[in-house]
């Protein structure tokens, strides 16, 4: 019963601390919202459009660009604002649709659509190709309408309508895409990305900074006082560990619940997801307990905890998918437990894997949990004897 009493006392202290509650509840949700809103569109190029009064031809082109699965279109009021957006990287390139576009095309002239680009940017080069393909496809109707008008007569608008209706029926040289696999290596975009990764990040940071309370208890001589009573060091260590595991579980459950109810995150196989959450809570508690024996002052824990937590999170794929970094950085990342936890969430959420599908990740996390808990128990126990 003693460990439970110790855990209860430690938990009560945290619940009364409004600052700790901010970091446990409000901050993770806020970060999930911001990262979820930002980490999307990796599979699309953002393209700016400035319409200087292009008329119908310009409107049709903008509609075709918006329909393209490769592009996200943003409208700008002036060339200057579009130029700034390109320079800042808000869009990969910006198209300037000239005032004379529709009239020029109707008059039989060729019209150049300017693409404002950065220098030496291959991302922009790729976006340029995607836009060029849409422009060419759009221009083919005009070519057809003008040709028909010149050889057979009729108005350009009539022939444009004819060309549009024929487009789907004329035998063409098509370009078809065949997907050869279905095994996604990354979490889906948006909140399905930010919620599991921030769960991994914040549960870890929270226990790391939670080490401050262990240090404070140590400093105040509370452990020594407890040792005077018939309380064994093992019970004290077990009490502190239980308190950290409970806190981590509460925070993880809050994030899982918020993700499912507010952000529509589907966490995958319930048994596998629950095992992962519990295991991660134990890993994080082990780290918190160990930090409580390593840091010298509560100030050090509050200063270094978030820094180390962010560094581990970055290495382990909480801030960006490890699939986009070099193989060497990916390998280094797997020295952290974070990478294995994120891999497991990816398998559950993106690939619909079950318990067997994340067995390796779980085994590695068990190894982390056992090693961290053993080391922390040994160090804390030694300080108490």
């Amino acid at each position: 019963m003693t460990p439970i009493a110790i855990a209860k006392a430690s938990l009560q202290r945290v619940v009364r601390d409004r600052r700790a509650l901010f970091f446990m509840i409000a901050l993770p949700i806020l970060v999930i919202i911001i990262i979820g809103a930002t980490v999307r569109g990796y599979n699309r190029f953002s393209v700016g459009v400035v319409d200087l009064g292009s008329g119908r031809a310009g409107h049709d082109l903008v509609a075709a660009l918006a329909d393209s699965s490769d592009l996200t279109v943003h409208a700008y009021r002036s060339t200057a604002s579009a130029t700034t957006a390109v320079a800042r990287g808000e869009v990969s390139l910006a198209l300037v649709l000239p005032a004379s576009m529709d009239a020029g095309l109707r008059a039989g002239r060729s019209v150049a659509v300017t693409a404002l680009t950065e220098e030496a940017s291959t991302t922009q080069e790729a976006a340029y190709n995607a836009v060029a393909s849409v422009v060419a496809s759009q221009g083919s109707r005009l070519q057809a309408a003008r040709f028909a008008t010149s050889v057979q007569g009729g108005t350009l608008d009539q022939n444009l309508s004819r060309a549009a209706s024929l487009e789907a029926r004329v035998p063409v040289v098509a370009v078809e895409t065949l997907q050869v696999d279905a095994r996604s290596n990354t979490l889906p975009e948006g909140f399905s990305y930010s919620t599991p990764t921030m769960l991994v990040l914040f549960v870890f940071i929270n226990t790391l900074t939670g080490a401050a309370s262990i240090i404070e208890t140590r400093r105040l001589g509370m452990y020594e006082r407890m040792s005077v009573a018939p309380v064994r060091p093992r019970a004290i260590v077990a009490g502190e560990a239980m308190s950290l595991v409970t806190l981590s579980l509460l925070q993880a459950l809050l994030i899982v619940g918020t993700g499912a109810l507010l952000f529509g995150v589907s966490w995958g196989d319930p048994l596998a997801a629950a095992t992962l959450v519990v295991l991660w809570a134990v890993v994080a508690a082990g780290v918190g307990l160990l930090a409580g024996t390593l840091f010298r002052s509560p100030e050090q824990a509050s200063a270094l905890g978030p820094t180390l937590g962010i560094l581990f999170g970055m290495l382990g794929g909480c801030m960006w998918p490890l699939s986009i970094v070099s193989p060497a950085v990916r390998a280094i990342g797997h020295a952290t437990p974070h990478a294995w936890a994120v891999d497991a969430w990816t398998a559950l959420i993106a690939r619909g894997a079950g318990f067997a599908g994340i067995a390796t990740d779980l085994a590695v996390l068990v190894a982390f949990a056992v090693a961290l808990m053993a080391l922390a128990t040994w160090r804390l126990g030694r300080r108490l004897v």
Partner: protein, 389 residues
Amino acid sequence: MRAALVIARKDLRQRVRDRSAIILGLVAPVAIAALMSLAFNGADTFHFTLGLVDQDHGPVATALRQNLELPALRRIVTLKVLDSEAQAREEVRSQRVAAALVIPPGFSAAATSSASSALHTLSSVNNTIAADVSRSIASSFVAQINADRLSVATAIASGSPTSRAAVLAAAATDLRIPEQLVQRPLGAHPVKVVSYYAPAMAILFLFFTISFSSRSFFAERAQGLIERLRAAPVHPAEILLGKVLSVFVFGVASLGMVWLVTAAAFGADWGAPAAAGLVCASLVVATVCLTALVIGLARTQRQAEGIASAVVFILALVGGNFVFISTAPSVMRRLALFTPNGWALRAFTDLSTTGGGLHTVAVPVLAILAFSGVVGAAAVRLAYRAVTA
């Protein structure tokens, strides 16, 4: 004034002796910026390997291959010739190539007649953008062929006799698609990951000094140091000025060190020194004002820690220190401009992409100073009370 300098010197000495201050002010921002630079080394550019399976070997297939090897495309695509579609599928599946393009047998013959045919791009769910770009390149290549076919079909649909199809097809080969895309470089450089995150992390950890400084103020007050100072012929304003001065000097030193280290070791581009220096200085002024505000609002060391942490994380999240704010939705980009760090990051982005000078940072610096003015005005009243209480 002398008393203020003595207090500032004492605070700074204490700060330098405390290793966690050095870690927060220098080691952590440099380490995180370095990690980001390492992680995204090469990710600033878009380049992929495209597998090519030519089962046709005809003139149109050869022209397509030559098109893929043009210098402009070579910057984004490296071709890897593969023997069969089965091999291409395996290469895409195992991610040895990002995507593959298969030219089927009889493609050239079909392309030069009016028969339908198809090029195939093989794509992986893990790299859809490479397949999309390959598809765009191939689509641009076949666009003229399809435009010519559509021209003949439209002419016939508008009344030309079907018997003239061959004549019309011959005439259509002289046509060119009337809408063309023309590239105009702006003279701006894309922002490098390290050039964004070096200042972003430097600012984040500069903000951490708010918590550190306000906490130390209350620790000293709890020890009765402030009362003892007031017993001496020292004006409360001097005590406050001393505290503020130490935050300013530490902030400037921290930002300056991170600037030097990240520029020298990782090639971070902070922009023109005078302009970047001005942004850093105005940001430190904002940090000083925020510190004074936290001291004014809090009553205890614990409260100071709590308020400072909330202020720092909210500013960092909204201002764009954790995410590249340029790619965020426009509402978030607008929200960022309510924070001094959001303005500073905009200034650093503009400096590194356009190579601008003082005129580039004029508006951001004024905005940061305006923020500082508002926060400072509230802080002076509240913080003065904290010193005299």
